[in-house]
C-alpha cells in the first residue's frame, strides 16, 4: 500500500497559499516531510488526516480516495497532531480507552488489555489514573503517541512529534516509530533535519506550499557534493560575508561564526571543502540555489 498525492492545492481565506500543486508518492516505511515553519506541512498532514478539504487535487491510500472515503481512511489512520490537548478531569487510562473505543475497539476486555499494553509501552502505566491535565509536556506527547499507535494504523501521521521531548526520549520515540514503520506508511513532518536523516528512507522538502525535492536523503546530499565550503570568521565580518557569499548556515563554534557557503567553485581564500549534509540540502533548496 502506498499513498499517492496528486496536484493538491489549498489557499486560505487570508490569501496564504498553503499547498501549491503538491504531488507526492509515499511508499510504505518512514517518510520525512521537511520544511520550515509555515511551509504547508500541517495543512498537508491535516488534509491526509481527513480534517481539511483541499481546493483541488486528489489523494489515494491504495484504492481509498482520502478526500471522499473519509471513514475508510479514518479506520486505518493513526494521527498525532502538532498541538493537542485533552479533556480535563479525565485520567490517561480512561481517555485512551475512550479513543480506542472511538477507533472501533468495542470489545471491552480486549480494549482494556490493549490500552494497558500501550500505556506500558509508552511508559505511562504508573500514572494511568492521573488526570492528563497534570502531565508534563513529555508525558503528554507520549500519550499522543500512544493514542496514535492504538488500533494498529496502516497510515501513521505524526506532525512535529518530537517537539518538547528531550534527546533521549526522542531517540526512543524514533525506535518505536521505526519499528512500526516497517509495515505501514509513516509520515513524519518535522523542521529538524537530523530527524529525517536518521530515520527516513524517503523524504520531501516543502517550502511555501511547493515540493522542492523528493527522494532519498542520501541522493540529495550526493547532489551537493563539492559545492559546500566552510570557514570560520570574526564576528564583525559576518555582514560582509553574508552580502558577498551565498551563506547556507552560520553557527557559533568557540564563539566565532562558522559558515557554510554554497558555490560551484572555491568561493575564496580561507574556505575549505565541506562534507555536505542534509541541512545544507534543506537550506539550499529553500533558497532555490540548488
Amino acid at each position: 500500500m502506498e499513498l499517492k498525492i496528486t496536484n493538491l492545492s489549498k489557499t486560505y481565506r487570508n490569501g496564504v497559499k498553503a499547498l501549491d500543486n503538491v504531488s507526492l508518492t509515499i511508499p510504505r516505511g518512514m517518510y520525512g516531510l521537511l520544511g520550515p515553519n509555515g511551509a504547508g506541512k500541517s495543512t498537508l498532514m491535516r488534509t491526509l488526516a481527513t480534517l481539511q478539504e483541499p481546493d483541488s487535487g486528489s489523494a489515494f491510500l491504495g484504492e481509498i480516495d482520502v478526500l471522499r472515503q473519509k471513514d475508510e481512511v479514518r479506520r486505518r489512520l493513526g494521527y498525532l497532531p502538532q498541538e493537542f490537548g485533552v479533556y480535563p478531569r479525565i485520567s490517561a487510562q480512561d481517555m485512551l480507552s475512550h479513543l480506542a473505543l472511538l477507533k472501533g475497539m468495542t470489545n471491552a476486555r480486549e480494549r482494556k488489555e490493549i490500552v494497558a499494553a500501550m500505556l506500558q509501552r509508552c511508559n505511562l502505566y504508573e500514572v494511568r489514573k492521573k488526570a492528563l491535565t497534570g502531565f508534563s509536556g513529555g508525558m503528554r506527547q507520549r500519550f499522543g503517541i500512544a493514542q496514535a499507535l492504538i488500533g494498529n494504523p496502516q497510515l501513521l501521521i505524526a506532525d512535529e512529534p518530537t517537539a518538547g521531548l528531550d534527546p533521549g526520549e526522542r531517540n526512543r520515540f524514533y525506535n518505536l516509530l521505526a519499528e512500526v514503520g516497517e509495515q505501514v506508511v509513516v509520515i513524519l513532518s518535522t523542521h529538524i533535519v537530523q530527524d529525517v536523516m536518521d530515520l527516513c528512507t524517503d523524504m520531501a522538502i516543502i517550502h511555501e506550499g511547493k515540493v522542492l525535492f523528493q527522494g532519498a536523503p542520501q541522493n540529495a546530499i550526493t547532489e551537493l557534493k563539492g559545492r559546500i565550503w566552510e570557514r570560520s570568521i570574526d564576528k564583525p565580518e559576518l555582514a560582509h560575508y553574508e552580502e558577498k557569499f551565498r551563506v547556507v548556515s552560520n553557527r557559533l563554534v568557540g564563539g566565532r561564526p562558522f559558515l557554510h557557503v554554497f558555490g560551484e567553485e572555491l568561493p575564496g581564500e580561507g574556505f575549505l571543502p565541506s562534507q555536505a549534509d542534509l541541512e545544507d540540502v534543506f537550506f539550499t533548496k529553500i533558497r532555490h540555489w540548488n
Partner: protein, 1193 residues
C-alpha cells in the same frame, strides 16, 4: 500613591470594552422597562411617572443584584491579575507598599463597578426623549433622585460587593471560587428574603439586606402615587442604619483581607510526576494483540456519553451551580411549602412543584445556556478536536451523547429537587405522595421544555464561528422569542419556539382540559427539534474548515441515505402535525391575539355604547335545562325566560350581547332579528308589535359550548372533566355590556377612547339612575328553576332546593328550585363530589368537596353555623332552605356567593392548614364572608354606581369580622386587622386611577371595599358599639331586603350609621366614609410611678397628626379634634403576642402634642395612644412605647 494605583486601575478598565458593554446592557434593560409596556425589570412599573424619583431609586436599589457578576469580573481581575498573568514576580519585587497596592486596586475596582449601575440613569434619561413614549406619563427630570440613588445605593453596594469579592479573591486566588462566592451571595440573598418575608419581622429583614433593596421597599411601602412622583428617600431612618451597617461590614471584610494578603508567592503545587526520563519510552516490545476494529455506533455512543458525563459531573462550576441551585430550592421548599397564597396551606404536590419551578429553574436555564456552549466547543477548546475528529466515528456520535449528558444533568438536578420536595412534605407531616405526578411534571413536562432549549442551543453553537457569538445569539434568540410575538400581535404557539399552552394543574381534573393541545404541540416541537438535530449533525464541525463553503460542502457530503429519509420523514411529520394543530386551533377554533381583542373591545364600545341607556325589557323568571357532558367538556343550556316591559313607553326592540366562546341561539316569538353583528357579538331583535308597558313575553335561548378538537389556549376553562363551574353570565345579556369596555387609561387612549370613570357617579336620592343593580343583567329579583344533568358518576348543582333527582339514559338529573326570589345570578356545577351534611335549625348545611381534600370541611361547617347564628340574630332571617359550599378547581382562586350556594376554590381553603393557635383561621373567615353575602348582596344590593360594593363587600367583611371575633377573640382581630391595614396602605400606592373614599369606591377597588372597610368599620364599631352598628344594618335590611328598584346606594348605609352615631362622634362619618383620612400618632414618652397604694401613675407624652389625602395621595394636615383611645398593656405571657389590657380610656385630643395621665393597678409593660392600632396609621408600631419606671416618693 494608592490614588495613582486606583486611577491606573480605573483608566485600565475605561479602555476595555467590557465596562461599556455592561453599562450598555443595564442601560438597555432599564431603557426597555421604562419606555415600553412589554419589557419588565423587577416587576411592572407603578402608576407613577416613568421617571419618578421612586422608579429611579427602586431600580438603583436592586440593580446591584444584576451587576454582581459583572463586579466579580472587575474585582477579581484587580485582585488577581498579577497572579494569573504571572506578573506578580515583577510587581511584588518593586518597592510598592502593600497598603497602596491593595487599597488602590480595591478603590479602582469599586469605582469601576459603579459604572454599569449608571445604566439606570442613562436608560431613564434617554427614554424620556423617545418619540413613542407618552409624555403624560413622564415627569420632569429629577437630578436629585439620580444623585441620591447613586450615593445611597450604587456606591455603598458597589463598595460592599467589592469588599466581599476582593476578600475572597485575595484569600482564595481562584477565579472559580470568586464566582461561586458571588453566586452564594445571590442565593443567600434570596434565602434570607424567604426567611424574613413575614410582616412580623420585616424590620429585621430590612436591616439585614446588604443591598438596601428590602429596606427601600419597607420605607416606601405606604407611599402614595403623589409621594412616589415627588419625593426621594434619603439617608434617614432604617435606610441610614442599613447603609451604616453594611458599609461597616464592608470595611471589616476588607480589613480582614488586607491583613491576610501577602506579596509572597504561595507554595505552588508540587510539579507533576515525571517518571524516570531515561526510561520514558520502553524499548521493551510488548506484543500487541491485533485488535478487531468494528463499527459499533452504540458502544461508541455509550462510551462517549460516559466520558462527557464524567467531565461535566466533575467540573467545579457544575458542582457549584448545582449546589447553589439546590441551596436556593430546598430551603425555599421547606420555608414556603406552607405559605401558599399568603396564608398557611398544606404542602400539596402541585404547590411544591410550583416552588421548584420558581427556585430551581433559573439555574437550570443557566446550566443549559452555559454547558451547551461548553459541550459543543469542548474538543475545540481543549484542542482535542484533531485527534477525535480523525477517528472513524459517525458525526452523530459527536452530538447525541453530549445532548444526552446535558439532559441527564438537568434531570438529576430536578430529581434532587423532587426528593427534596418529598422530604419537605414528610417533614410537614403530609403523606399524600404523588410520585407519578412529580415524575410526570418534572421529568416529562418540564424536561421536554429543557430538551427544546438544549437542542436549540446546540444548533446555534454549531453554526456560530465561536463560543461567545453562540452564547450571544442564543440569548438574543430567547429574548426575541419571548418578547417579539406580542408586539407583532401573534398569539399562536405554532411560531413561538417551544411554546405550548399554559395550564393549571388541579387535584380535581389533573391536566385533562389542556392535555390534547399540550400533547400535540409537544409532538410538533419535538419533531421540529428533530429537524434541528439533523441539521446540527450535518453541520457539526469536524476538522479545520476556514470557510463556510467548506462546511456546506461537508454537510452535503454527510447528507445521504438514512439522513435524507429521516429528514423527509421529519419534514412530513412536522408539516402534518402543524397542519393538524392549525386545523384544530384556527379552523375548528380560533386564536384571538391580545391586540385584536383590545381592538374589538374598543370597537364594541364605539358602536354600541349609544344603546347603554336605551330602555330594555327586564327578566322576571327563568327556567333552565342544563346538560353537562364532562368527558367531552361540553354543555348545552336551554332557558325559558319571561321578560317584561317595566317602563311607561312601549319597547320596540330588544338587544343582546352574546358570549363569543359559545354558540347562542335566541328565539323570541313575535320578533325578528334585525341586526346580527357576528364580529362584535351583538344582536338586535325587532318586535313585530312593540312590547306595551307591563306586558310580559316569554323568550327562549340556547347556549351551547363548541368544544371541538383543541384550542391554542383553553378558552372555556369553566368546562372541565371534573369540576365544571359556570354561571348564567354566559347566556345572552340584554343590552350593552359595559363590562366589555377597555379600562386601562393607556389602552383607551391608544384606541381613541376618552378616559372614563368605571361606574356612574354616586347620587343621593336617586331614582332613574338606580333602577339597576351593579350586578346588572337587566333583571330584578327573579324566580329560577333548573333541571341539570350530568354523567352518572358526578353530582350537578344549581341554586335552590333539590326537588327531584333521577337517572335517565345513563345520566343523572337534578331539579332545583329557588326558595325565594333572588338576584339573577346562578351557578351551575358538576363534579365527583363527596358531600358532608349537617342541619342548622332546619336549614340544610352541605359541603361538596373533592375526596382528596377532606381536611377543612368541619371548619367550614362550623363557620356556616356560627355565621347563621350571628346574622339571623343581628341582621334578619335567612330565606333559603339550604346553604352550600362547593369546591371548584383552582383555575380561579376565589370564593363567590350565589343564592344559598357558595362555590369555593380548591386553593384558598380546602388545602389550608391551620395548626397553630394564633394562626388566622382563613377558612372560617372566608366562609363567614360568603355567608354574609346572603344578606349583603343577595338581600340588599347596591344600585349600579360608585359605592355599590360598600353594601355588599364591605358589609360582608364587617359581618365576617364580628363572627370571627366571637369565635377567636379580640387579640386575633388585632392580628387580622394589622394585615388588612398593611394591605390597604400598600395597595393605595399602586392605584392606577384614583383612590376613592369608601362611600364612592369602585367595584374593582378591593383594597378599599375589603381591606380599608375592615379597618374602618371595626373602628366605628369600637367607637359607637357593636349594637349601634347592627341596629343601623338591621334598618338597611328592613328597608331594602328584596325591595324593588330603585336600589339603595352607599348613602343608605352611611345615613343609617350616622343616625346611630352620638353627636360628639359625628365627625367620624365624614372621616371614615367621605374622606381619605390618615393619622400619624405616636408616643414620645411613657413612664410610670409607683403610688403609696401600690397602683401606678402612668404619664404619656403623645403626638397626634391627622391628614386628609386626595385621589393621588397628596396629603394635607388638618387639626386634630378626635376622640382617641389611650391605654396600657401588661407584659405578654410566654408565647403570646399581646399582654392583658390594664387600662383603656377614650380621650378627646385637640392638640398635636399632649401629656396624659392615668392610673393602673399593676406595672404596665407598654402604653401609648391608639394602643390597639385601630386608626389608619402608617407606623402603628410607634403608637405604644415601653414604660419606664421612675423613682417613687
Amino acid at each position: 500613591m494608592f490614588l495613582n494605583i486606583a486611577l491606573f486601575e480605573v483608566r485600565f478598565w475605561l479602555r476595555s470594552w467590557m465596562v461599556w458593554i455592561f453599562l450598555f446592557i443595564i442601560g438597555l434593560l432599564v431603557f426597555g422597562a421604562v419606555s415600553s409596556d412589554q419589557v419588565q425589570l423587577g416587576g411592572a412599573l407603578p402608576n407613577t411617572y416613568h421617571n419618578a424619583p421612586f422608579v429611579i431609586q427602586n431600580f438603583y436599589s436592586f440593580i446591584a443584584l444584576l451587576t454582581l457578576l459583572m463586579s466579580t469580573a472587575f474585582v477579581n481581575s484587580a485582585a488577581l491579575r498579577d497572579f494569573s498573568n504571572n506578573t506578580y514576580q515583577i510587581v511584588f519585587t518593586t518597592p510598592l507598599r502593600k497598603f497602596d497596592f491593595l487599597l488602590g486596586r480595591f478603590i479602582g475596582a469599586t469605582l469601576i463597578s459603579v459604572i454599569p449601575m449608571l445604566g439606570v440613569s442613562l436608560g431613564i434619561l434617554l427614554a424620556k426623549y423617545m418619540p413613542w413614549v407618552d409624555q403624560d406619563r413622564w415627569g420632569p427630570v429629577d437630578w436629585a433622585a439620580h444623585f441620591k440613588s447613586i450615593a445611597i445605593f450604587a456606591l455603598p453596594n458597589a463598595f460592599f460587593i467589592a469588599a466581599v469579592l476582593f476578600a475572597v479573591a485575595v484569600l482564595a486566588r481562584n477565579e472559580i471560587i470568586s464566582f461561586v462566592a458571588a453566586l452564594v451571595l445571590l442565593t443567600g440573598y434570596g434565602v434570607a428574603g424567604a426567611l424574613t418575608q413575614d410582616i412580623q419581622n420585616e424590620k429585621i429583614a430590612a436591616l439585614l439586606d446588604p443591598f438596601g433593596s428590602r429596606t427601600f421597599d419597607l420605607v416606601t411601602r405606604y407611599w402614595t402615587v403623589a409621594e412616589k412622583n415627588h419625593v426621594s428617600a434619603g439617608f434617614t431612618g432604617l435606610l441610614l442604619w442599613n447603609r451604616l451597617i453594611w458599609i461597616s461590614v464592608g470595611c471589616l471584610v476588607f480589613a480582614v483581607a488586607y491583613s491576610r494578603f501577602s506579596f509572597a508567592e504561595r507554595r505552588t503545587k508540587a510539579k507533576p510526576v515525571e517518571p524516570d526520563a531515561q526510561d520514558a519510552i520502553r524499548p521493551v516490545s510488548v506484543t500487541l494483540a491485533r485488535p478487531q476494529l468494528q463499527d459499533a455506533p452504540w458502544a461508541k455512543f455509550v462510551g462517549s456519553f460516559k466520558i462527557h458525563f464524567l467531565g461535566m459531573a466533575r467540573s467545579t462550576f457544575f458542582v457549584v451551580i448545582a449546589v447553589a441551585s439546590l441551596l436556593n430550592c430546598i430551603p425555599s421548599l421547606a420555608l414556603s411549602a406552607t405559605e401558599g397564597y399568603g396564608n398557611q396551606t398544606l404542602p400539596v404536590t402541585y404547590w411544591i412543584l410550583d416552588l421548584i419551578r420558581g427556585t430551581l429553574y433559573p439555574f437550570v436555564v443557566i446550566v443549559i445556556t452555559y454547558y451547551a456552549g461548553v459541550l459543543v466547543w469542548k474538543d475545540h477548546d481543549e484542542r482535542m478536536d484533531e485527534i477525535a475528529d480523525s477517528t472513524p466515528t459517525p458525526d452523530w456520535i459527536s452530538y447525541a451523547p453530549r445532548l444526552l449528558t446535558l439532559m441527564i444533568m438537568v434531570m438529576l438536578m430536578q430529581s434532587a429537587a423532587l426528593l427534596g420536595g418529598i422530604a419537605v412534605q414528610t417533614w410537614h407531616g403530609y403523606h399524600r405522595y404523588q410520585l407519578g405526578l412529580y415524575a410526570y411534571e418534572l421529568l416529562v413536562r418540564d424536561a421536554s421544555a429543557f430538551l427544546f432549549l438544549s437542542v436549540l442551543a446546540f444548533f446555534i453553537h454549531v453554526l456560530s464561528p465561536n463560543k461567545y457569538i453562540g452564547y450571544f445569539f442564543y440569548i438574543v434568540f430567547l429574548a426575541a422569542n419571548a418578547f417579539v410575538w406580542r408586539p407583532l400581535n401573534i398569539a399562536t404557539s405554532l411560531v413561538r419556539f417551544g411554546s405550548r399552552p399554559q395550564e393549571i394543574y388541579s387535584d380535581m381534573f389533573g391536566d385533562a382540559p389542556y392535555r390534547a393541545a399540550w400533547d400535540w404541540y409537544t409532538l410538533y416541537w419535538l419533531i421540529f427539534c428533530g429537524l434541528l438535530a439533523i441539521l446540527t449533525i450535518m453541520f457539526w464541525p469536524r476538522g479545520k474548515q476556514d470557510r463556510w463553503l467548506g462546511r456546506r460542502r461537508n454537510a452535503a457530503q454527510r447528507f445521504h441515505g438514512g439522513w435524507i429519509s429521516a429528514s423527509l420523514l421529519c419534514l412530513l411529520a412536522f408539516a402534518s402535525t402543524g397542519g393538524w394543530i392549525w386545523y384544530n386551533t384556527e379552523v375548528l377554533n380560533r386564536v384571538v391575539a391580545p391586540k385584536t381583542q383590545q381592538r374589538l373591545q374598543a370597537e364594541y364600545e364605539k358602536t354600541y355604547k349609544q344603546f347603554e341607556k336605551k330602555p330594555q325589557p327586564r327578566v322576571r323568571s327563568i327556567k333552565y335545562a342544563v346538560d353537562i357532558y364532562p368527558e367531552s367538556r361540553n354543555m348545552v343550556m336551554r332557558a325559558e325566560q319571561v321578560i317584561q316591559n317595566p317602563f311607561a313607553q312601549p319597547i320596540n326592540e330588544i338587544q343582546f350581547t352574546v358570549d363569543p366562546n359559545y354558540i347562542t341561539e335566541i328565539e323570541i316569538p313575535g320578533a325578528s332579528l334585525s341586526k346580527d353583528d357576528t364580529k362584535l357579538y351583538y344582536r338586535i331583535y325587532k318586535f313585530d308589535s312593540p312590547m306595551q308597558p307591563n306586558e310580559s313575553r316569554t323568550m327562549h335561548f340556547t347556549v351551547k359550548s363548541k368544544n371541538r378538537g383543541f384550542e391554542n389556549s383553553v378558552s372555556t376553562v369553566e368546562l372541565v372533566q371534573n369540576g365544571t363551574f359556570f354561571n348564567n353570565a354566559i347566556g345572552p345579556r340584554i343590552g350593552y355590556d359595559s363590562g366589555r369596555q377597555l379600562t386601562d387609561p393607556n389602552d383607551r387612549k391608544k384606541y381613541g377612547l376618552k378616559e372614563i370613570d368605571l361606574m356612574p357617579p354616586l347620587e343621593r336620592n336617586c331614582t332613574t339612575d338606580c333602577m339597576d343593580t351593579y350586578i346588572g343583567l337587566h333583571s330584578d329579583w327573579v324566580d329560577v328553576q333548573t333541571v341539570i344533568s350530568t354523567s352518572a358518576d358526578q353530582l350537578a348543582i344549581a341554586p335552590g332546593s333539590l326537588t327531584r333527582e333521577w337517572q335517565e339514559n345513563g345520566r343523572r338529573y337534578f331539579e332545583y328550585k329557588l326558595d325565594h326570589q333572588s338576584l339573577n345570578f346562578s351557578n351551575f356545577m358538576s363534579a365527583r363530589y363527596e358531600v358532608a351534611r349537617e342541619d342548622w335549625n332546619g336549614i340544610k348545611l352541605e359541603v361538596y368537596y373533592d375526596r382528596q381534600h377532606p381536611w377543612n370541611v368541619p371548619r367550614m361547617m362550623n363557620s356556616m353555623k356560627k355565621s347563621l347564628d350571628y346574622y339571623t340574630k343581628n341582621f334578619g332571617p335567612y330565606y333559603h332552605k339550604e346553604a352550600r359550599i362547593i369546591e371548584f378547581p383552582r383555575v380561579a382562586t376565589f370564593a363567590q356567593a350565589f343564592p344559598g350556594t357558595m362555590p369555593y376554590s380548591e386553593s384558598i381553603g380546602f388545602i389550608a392548614n391551620i395548626n397553630k393557635p394564633d394562626d388566622i383561621d382563613f377558612i372560617f373567615y372566608v366562609v363567614a364572608h360568603e355567608m354574609a353575602h346572603q344578606w349583603w348582596a343577595h338581600q340588599v344590593v347596591g344600585a349600579n354606581m360608585e359605592g355599590a360594593t360598600v353594601l355588599s363587600e364591605s358589609l360582608a367583611q364587617y359581618s365576617a369580622l364580628m363572627v370571627m371575633e366571637k369565635e377567636y377573640g379580640r387579640d386575633m382581630m388585632r392580628k387580622f386587622l394589622k394585615y388588612e391595614m398593611d394591605n390597604y396602605l400598600r395597595s393605595r400606592g399602586t392605584e392606577r386611577l384614583k383612590e376613592r373614599p369608601l362611600i364612592t369606591v369602585e367595584a374593582n377597588q378591593g383594597y378599599i371595599h375589603y381591606r380599608k372597610a375592615s379597618v374602618v368599620l371595626y373602628y366605628l364599631k369600637e367607637m359607637i358599639g357593636e349594637e349601634a352598628v347592627n341596629r343601623a344594618l338591621r334598618k338597611v335590611i328592613q328597608q331594602y331586603a328584596y325591595a324593588q328598584p330603585p336600589y339603595p346606594t352607599s348613602h343608605a348605609l352611611v345615613d343609617a350609621l350616622q343616625e346611630q352615631t352620638p353627636p360628639d362622634l359625628q365627625y367620624l362619618i365624614k372621616d371614615l366614609f367621605e374622606d381619605i383620612t390618615i393619622f400619624s400618632n405616636r408616643t414620645l414618652d411613657a413612664s410610670a410611678q409607683k403610688r403609696a397604694d401600690g397602683k401606678y401613675d402612668v404619664t404619656l407624652k403623645v403626638e397626634a397628626h391627622k391628614y386628609k389625602a386626595d385621589a393621588k395621595g397628596n396629603e394635607t394636615e388638618v387639626p386634630v379634634n378626635d376622640f382617641i383611645d389611650i391605654g396600657a398593656f401588661a407584659k405578654p405571657a410566654k408565647k403570646m403576642q399581646y399582654g392583658d389590657t390594664l387600662h383603656r380610656e377614650r380621650v378627646h385630643i385637640t392638640q398635636k402634642e399632649s401629656t396624659l395621665t392615668f392610673v393602673t393597678d399593676s406595672l404596665p409593660d407598654k402604653a401609648g395612644i391608639d394602643p390597639f392600632a385601630l386608626l389608619i396609621d402608617r407606623i402603628p408600631d410607634d403608637n405604644t412605647k415601653s414604660v419606664t419606671l421612675v423613682g417613687g416618693k
